[in-house]
Symmetry: C2
Subunit: 264 residues, 2 copies
């Protein structure tokens, strides 16, 4: 296995960096190109047609950069555009919904909660995916629109964030979920506030680890493993200083690569 | 005065509907075309270059619809792209920054606060505009990134909104501002929570009324008054159900016109 082509990782913005961080830990010898579509974020409040159009533009852009595999590190795009991306791109495409659902199905004792953006929850993609892996499971969902702005404000474990988490999650906790899928790549940043709201007996599923498993499988299956020279490119469609600040929370300060501005 | 051409009103999304509502009250015989660029909102976290590019596309789209005047009912676009719009469009262009600053300069006893999105505040457009109208005034600013998502969640006077308002506004209140510019068209929806945070002695400036004054002046000056047949078109670039829900808060339920999807 010695395929020097890069892995492409795509998100509407910043949240996917939590997946990038996990992939870099797991595959230090790979070349990663991260593309954050920051000029058009967020996707989570937009319609399925618009999300699919944006995701295809991003996928084609990365394909032109000779990627060997695409990770869609955005729950909304995974929920709404994975089929379109797989049909359009001649490389393996890994989303975050399927690996997260599989991990939840393996962990649950029967009651799974799913939280995400309005679009992700409205798509029911997680519900279908969990049910496909786990007969008789009960899946309860809740959209949490303020979690992304709270994460982007840097209020990871702030009293306001704890209060919002209590409001959003009270019904799921009362319904007795035993497993909770963090169905948005921003949400691991709020892990402590979310855990406090649902209590210590609920297993939190962060799809980053599950995605890394699936990427590992694809690299082995396709004999796509890299050349051992780890590299990183960080591309954004809008260079607002906000992105750099939040990226530093996730990847460390200073950033491991400069932010480059690109136009889709 | 009998010019049947429509007035164009443009916002990144939903907030500008507070300006539209005021203009319809004031000019019931005019034909309004409202364009919300919901596929690319929010503008407030994006760079000046990107905001100017989006605003020009929206302005040209409305010009092709034969508008006689453009209202930029978005503080971020007014702060960052008004010059570019005026240079590119052959009709009067009214922003929200200048009228709001003028109203604040008329109201203040010496200390003005300005709140808005990160991009609006970073642009310093309000500070320059207030200072130009009012010698020796002191202007203090604060970005309030969570106010737009809180308004869009419908938590207008919610305990969480009150707490966030206290956190954001404590420094402005302590600095003794006597006037506060609501420098984002979403913020009038949070008026009660904002007023509670700064106290009853602070005058809140909502630019909608000031914008209506300026539009009145432009219509008179250019003899552009309408034909008395009030009409309304609501155009959006993305038809997420979210927009319809929040639009109903502002314009009433059912909406006074259907939402039509357009592509810029």
């Amino acid at each position: 296995m010695n395929d020097p082509r890069p892995l492409g990782i795509f998100d509407s913005g910043i949240g996917g960096l939590t997946v990038l961080a996990e992939l870099r830990r797991r595959f230090p010898g790979e070349h990663f190109i991260y593309l954050g579509d920051t000029a058009r974020l967020p996707y989570g409040t937009k319609s399925p047609e618009t999300v699919a159009r944006y995701a295809l533009a991003a996928g084609r852009f990365l394909l032109a950069r000779q990627i060997k595999l695409l990770v869609v590190a955005c729950n909304t795009a995974s929920a709404l555009a994975l089929g379109a991306l797989r049909a359009a791109l001649p490389v393996p495409v890994v989303g975050v919904v399927e690996p997260g659902a599989r991990a939840a199905a393996a962990a649950t004792r029967g009651r799974v909660g799913v939280i995400g953006t309005e679009s992700t929850i409205a798509s029911s993609a997680y519900v279908r995916a969990v049910e496909a892996h786990c007969q008789g499971v009960r899946v309860l969902t809740r959209a949490c629109p303020l979690f992304v702005p709270l994460a982007e404000e840097g209020w990871f474990d702030h009293p306001v964030t704890r209060q919002v988490a209590d409001i959003y999650l009270t019904d799921l906790a009362a319904a007795g979920i035993d497993t909770l899928i963090l169905g948005c790549t921003h949400y691991p940043l709020l892990r402590h506030a979310i855990a406090a709201a649902v209590g210590p007996d609920v297993t939190l599923i962060d799809s980053a680890a599950a995605v890394a498993e699936e990427v590992d499988g694809e690299l082995s299956r396709g004999r796509l493993g890299g050349d051992g020279r780890g590299r990183l490119e960080l591309l954004v469609t809008d260079a607002a200083s906000r992105f750099a600040r939040i990226a530093s929370f996730i990847l460390g300060d200073p950033l491991p690569a400069p932010l480059a501005l690109v136009d889709l």
